[in-house]
Subunit: 602 residues, 2 copies
C-alpha cells in the first residue's frame, strides 16, 4: 500500500506540529506534497497525527488524519505484529482496571462445529501471531468509561487527544461526553487506537463497513479493506463479518486498526446456533459480547429496541424489516412469543459494557427499507424505546449513540434527526445515509450521500457509508474507496453548513490554488489527489499544462479565471489596488446615476 | 449504439399506450424487459413516447422517455439525414410564420478566417448533408412564442404534448407558461424536438452540456454525446462548442436532437473576433444570434446581467468571475469603460428571439466559483438585474428562465431559490449544481448532486449537470453518463420530496421487486440497469442467483428480507392475514399491558 492516497477532512490546528517526517511515496517514488506530522499535548506520549500539505506558494494546510501509523514513513508497521498500544500507559495509569485470564477461545468462535473432524479444528494459538496479551476489565466490575470520568470532572488523555484533533478545549470535550451529547469509543482492550470523538459539536464522522460473508472474501482482504478505508478518511470501521473465522478476522482487524472498531455481536451469536434465530439465547449472546469485549471491540450495535409488540407494525410495510439484526430479533420474538431477550437483559448488558468501556450503538432494527416505509409507526415506536434504553445506559455510565435510517425522502429527513435528538436526550445520532430514492441501485452511494449531507448538517454526528454495491453485492476495494470519499464529501459539506471552525479553510486553500492555477496544490489538497491528477492528465497530459494559466475545458482564449486575472492585472495591478480602484469607481458610477464612467486605470 | 441503455424518470400516464413496438437489444440480442410505446393525443400526429417496463409479475410501469426515436426499433434513424420534423405541420398550421432566404453561412461561422488559404475554406453545402431547408420566422416579425399563445388562451399541440408527458391537464400547462412560471423551449426552426416543459410544477429537468473545445474533440463525438446523454435521461442539451466547426457541429446536433438545444452565442461571437473580447460588438453578437436562431437553437444563455457597475464587486472575491460569458462581458465593459452592449440592446434582442421562439436563459455571469464567494453582493446585484430583464422579456412575449449558481454551502442554498423566485416573478430557475464544497475535484458530480437535489426540492425547475471532470478536463462518454445519472437521481429525489404525482410509483415498483427478490425486475426498473446487473453478477454470477431469495451481502442465513418473508409465511401465510392477525395480537398485547402474548399463528 502506498501513502500517497491518504486524505481526510480539514481541522486546522492551533498547536504547531512539532515533528515532521519527510514523506515519499512508496509507489511513485516522488514526493506528493505533504508530510505526516504530530501535535504534542501536555505529555510526551500524547501526539496527535495531522497531515500537513505543503503548497508551492510556501504556505501549508493542516488536515485531520485518520490514516494511522501506516502513513508515517518513520514507523515500521507489520500486520502480523499489529500496531503499538499507544493508550496502554494511559489505561494502566488510571489504576481502575485489572488483567484476567479471560474467556478461552473456542472453535465455534470461528464458526467451526464441535462435531467438526479433528482436521477441521484450527490451531487457535494462531488466532493472531502478534504479542500474547490478557484481556483487561474494570476492577470489581466498576465502570471504566470515558463517560464515568467525564461526569467526575476528569479530563483523560483521550479527551485531550480529541480536543487537539478537533481544535477545541479539553473542557468542551469533557462537557459534551458528560452530557451524553458525544461519545469517545475506546475499549480498554483496544489500546492501539488514536482517540476520536462522535458528537454534533465536533467534525462529522464517517464509518466504513467491512466484513467477510458466508458467500465470499478472506481475513487478509478485510484487514486490507480496513487500512484502505482509514487511509481515505474513515473515522471508524465496523466489522460485519458473518462467515467463518469471525473471531480471527476481528482479532487481526483490531490489532491493526488505528480507529475504533464496531460490531454487531448478534451476527456471530447467530453463527453459533447455525443461523437458527429461534435457538438464540441470552447466554449465547452474553458470551459473544464478552468474547468481543475482551478482544477490544469499541462499540457494539445492539438491537434491543425491536420489541415483540412492534413486529406487527411492520406487517403492512412495503419492505418489511430490512435490518439483519432487526429481522433476527423479530424472528426470535415471534418464534418464542416472548419479549426480546436483549430488551429484558439490557441492564445486565450495561454492566458488561461498562467494565470494558464498550460504547452502545443502539440499532434501528426497524428502519425503513424503502421510501414508502419512511417515518412510519414501527420506526418511531422503536426510536422511543431507544430513548428509554439510552437513559438506562446512562445510569450505568455506558456511552451511547443511536442508529438511524435508512430510506427516507428529503422532505422527511429532518423529522428523523429532530425526533431522535428530543427522544434520546441529544445522544449522538449515527445514520445510514439516508437514501433519498429507491430507483438507483449501483448508485446508492449517491442517493444516500445526498441524504447524509442533509441530516449531518441538521445534527447527525456520524454517517455510516453506503457503497455503489449496496443492494447488489459485496464492496470491493474500489467500492470502499468510492463509499468513503462520497461520505467524506457529505461530512465536510455538513461541517461547512454548520460553520465548524476551520472547516472552510480547506475549501479556501483549494479555491485559491484553483484561481491561481497552482494545479499541483489543487491536486494535493483534493480529497482524492490521484484521481484529480489523473482526470486532468487525460485531457492535458503534458507537464507544462500543470502550470498553464488555463485548462482543457475552455482552452487559452476562453478561460474565465484567466480573463478575470487579466482584468485585475490591466486595471490596477495588485489585488489590493484593483479593489480600491474599482470600489472607488463603483461609488462614482453609482453617484453618477449609473452613467458610463471614466477608465478605472486612470 | 444499443437501445438497452435508456432509462428516464417516472411519470405515470393516464392514457394507455396505444402502440408498442417489441424491443430487442441490438447488443445482447436478448429482450431486456421494456418496450418503447406512445400515448396518442387528440390528433394522430401527436404521439407522446413512453417507456414501458414489463415486470415478471405481469404488471408494467410506464416511465418518462427522453431518448427519442433512437430507442424505437420501428424507426430507422440516420444521423446524416436527421430526425423527422414532427412539429413541422403544427408550426406551419399556425400560419404565423414564413420561410425566408436566411443569412448565408460564412466560413467564419466555423471559425475559418477570411484570410485563410483557398484550401482552408470548406465546402459549406456540406454543413449538413440532410434535406435542404430554409429558415422560418414570425411573419412581420411577430412573436410566435408559446408564451404569446398561452397568454392568448391558446393550447398548442406542444402544450398538449407536455401535458400528456407530465400527466397533467393541458390547461395547467397553458396557465404555467402564461404566468411565466414555466417555459416550453421550441424554436420554430427545430421541428424535430419532442416538446418538454421546464417549471416548478412539473418534473424536475436535467440539462447535459456537450461541446468541442479549442483543445480537443470532433463533430461526430458531440452528436454521439448528445444521443448518449438523452438516452440516459437528459431533458435538454447545451452545445458549448468553442473551437472550430461550431456552426457545423451545431447543425448536426440540432438535426439529430429529440430534445431542446441550448447555446451561449457569446462563445461563437468571440471566436469571430479571434477571442479578443474588446473587439466584440453588438452587430457581431446580433448576427451570431440570428445565425443560431435560424439553425433552430431553442434557448440561449445571455449574460446581459453583467453590468459595468458590478465588475468591481468581484474584485475582492476569492475566485473572481468563473463564468466564461461573465468574464468575457466584464472584460469588454472594462476595456471600453461602457455599459454592457447586451444590457443596452436587450429590447432589440427580445424582438429577434420572439420571432423564432428562442427562450432566454438569463445567464448568471457573476455566479460564485467557490464556497467563499457564495451569495455575495456581486451575485445578488446581477440577480436583481435579471429580474428587471425578465420583466422586459415578458413584455416582448419571450419565454425566459433564470440561471443560478454555482458553488454554495448547504446553509446558503435556500436563499438562492427564494430570492430568485421573488425577484424574477417565479420564472423557472435553472441552476448549475450548486457544489456544496470545493475540496473534491474529480467528484464534483457528487458535491453538486447534493446541492442540486436540495435546490430542486425547494423549487428549481431544471438542473445543469456537472460531470466528474468538472474543473479538470473535458467529459468523455462515461463522464457524460455519470453526470446524467447523478442528476437524474437528484431530480427524482426532488420530485419525491415535492410529492410530484406518480413519482413514488417508480420507487414503489422497484422496492416491491427488491422485497420479492424479483432481481430482473429490479434491474430493469433501475436508472442504470446495465451497471446494476453487472454489480450483482460480480459477486453472484450464476443465473440461479437472479431468482435466489437472498443476495451476496448476507448470504442465505442472514438475509433480513428472507427472514421478514418467513415471518409472514409462518405467522399467517398471506400478507393480508398476517396484517390482520398481527394487528389484532398487537392490540391484545397493548391491552394486556405489554405482557407476553399468545402465538400469532393460533
Amino acid at each position: 500500500m502506498t501513502n500517497k492516497d491518504a486524505r481526510t477532512p480539514a481541522s486546522v490546528q492551533d498547536g504547531t506540529p512539532l515533528e515532521t517526517a519527510p514523506h515519499t511515496s512508496q509507489e511513485a517514488g516522488k514526493s506528493i506534497g505533504w508530510h505526516k506530522a504530530y501535535v504534542e499535548g501536555t505529555r510526551p506520549d500524547l501526539r496527535v497525527p495531522v497531515r500537513q500539505v505543503h503548497l508551492t506558494n510556501g504556505q501549508s494546510v493542516t488536515l485531520y488524519d485518520t490514516s494511522g501509523p501506516y502513513t508515517d514513513p518513520l514507523v515500521d508497521t507489520d500486520v502480523r505484529r499489529g500496531l503499538s498500544p499507544l493508550r496502554e500507559n494511559w489505561i494502566i495509569g488510571r489504576g481502575d482496571t485489572e488483567e484476567y485470564a479471560g474467556r478461552p477461545v473456542r472453535p465455534e468462535d470461528d464458526g467451526i462445529k464441535h462435531t467438526a473432524p479433528r482436521g477441521g479444528l484450527r490451531n487457535l494459538d494462531a488466532v493472531f501471531p502478534g504479542r500474547p496479551r490478557q484481556p483487561r476489565r474494570g476492577r470489581d466490575g466498576r465502570a471504566v468509561t470515558q463517560l464515568a470520568y467525564a461526569r467526575r470532572g476528569e479530563i483523560t488523555p483521550e479527551m485531550e487527544f480529541v480536543a487537539l484533533r478537533e481544535n477545541v478545549s479539553p473542557e468542551v470535550v469533557r462537557e459534551e461526553i458528560a452530557a451524553g451529547r458525544a461519545v469517545l469509543p475506546a475499549n480498554v482492550n483496544h489500546p492501539e487506537i488514536e482517540p476520536m470523538i462522535i458528537g454534533k459539536r465536533f467534525l462529522v464522522k464517517v464509518n466504513a463497513n467491512i466484513g467477510n460473508s458466508a458467500v465470499t472474501s478472506s481475513i487478509e482482504e478485510e484487514v486490507e479493506k480496513m487500512t484502505w478505508a482509514t487511509r481515505w478518511g474513515a473515522d471508524t470501521v465496523m466489522d460485519l463479518s458473518t462467515g467463518r473465522n469471525i473471531h480471527t478476522t476481528r482479532e487481526w482487524v483490531l490489532r491493526n486498526s488505528p480507529v475504533p472498531i464496531g460490531t454487531v455481536p448478534l451476527y456471530q451469536a447467530l453463527e453459533k446456533v447455525d443461523g437458527r434465530a429461534e435457538e438464540l439465547t441470552w447466554e449465547i449472546y452474553k458470551d459473544t459480547v464478552i468474547e468481543q469485549a475482551e478482544q477490544g471491540v469499541d462499540y457494539m450495535t445492539v438491537h434491543a429496541g425491536v420489541r415483540l409488540a412492534y413486529v406487527p407494525l411492520t406487517a403492512n410495510r412495503k419492505t418489511g424489516i430490512v435490518s439483519r439484526g432487526g429481522s433476527i430479533m423479530a424472528a426470535w420474538c415471534l418464534a418464542h412469543h416472548k419479549e426480546s431477550f436483549l430488551y429484558e437483559h439490557f441492564e445486565e448488558l450495561c454492566e458488561i459494557l461498562a467494565a470494558y468501556d464498550v460504547t452502545y450503538s443502539l440499532g434501528d432494527g426497524l428502519r425503513p427499507g424503502s421510501i414508502a416505509d419512511a417515518n412510519d409507526e414501527a420506526q418511531f415506536a422503536e426510536l422511543r424505546t431507544l430513548g428509554e434504553l439510552n437513559r438506562i445506559a446512562r445510569r450505568f455510565d455506558v456511552q451511547t449513540m443511536i442508529e438511524g435510517p435508512g430510506h427516507v425522502p428529503m422532505h422527511k429527513i429532518k423529522e428523523n434527526i429532530d425526533l431522535q435528538q428530543e427522544i434520546c436526550d441529544e445522544a449522538p445520532f449515527y445514520t445510514l445515509g439516508p437514501l433519498t430514492t429507491d430507483v438507483a441501485p449501483a448508485y446508492d452511494h449517491i442517493t444516500s450521500g445526498i441524504g447524509a449531507a442533509m441530516i449531518a448538517w441538521w445534527g447527525t454526528a456520524m454517517l455510516c457509508y453506503v457503497t455503489p454495491k449496496e443492494h447488489l453485492g459485496l464492496p470491493n476495494r474500489d467500492d470502499v474507496k468510492t463509499g468513503v470519499i462520497t461520505y467524506k464529501i457529505a461530512a465536510h459539506a455538513a461541517d461547512l453548513a454548520k460553520g465548524h471552525p476551520g472547516a472552510q479553510e480547506w475549501d479556501d486553500a483549494l479555491s485559491d490554488a484553483r484561481f491561481e492555477f497552482r494545479w499541483e496544490d489543487q491536486f494535493n489538497l483534493a480529497l482524492d489527489p490521484d484521481t484529480a491528477r489523473e482526470f486532468h492528465d487525460e485531457t492535458l497530459p503534458a507537464e507544462p499544462a500543470k502550470t498553464a494559466h488555463f485548462c482543457s475545458m475552455c482552452g487559452p482564449k476562453f478561460c474565465s479565471m484567466k480573463i478575470s486575472q487579466d482584468i485585475r492585472r490591466e486595471h490596477g495591478g495588485s489585488r489590493t489596488e484593483i479593489e480600491e480602484g474599482m470600489a472607488q469607481k463603483s461609488k462614482e458610477f453609482a453617484a453618477a446615476g449609473n452613467r458610463v464612467y471614466l477608465p478605472l486605470a486612470d
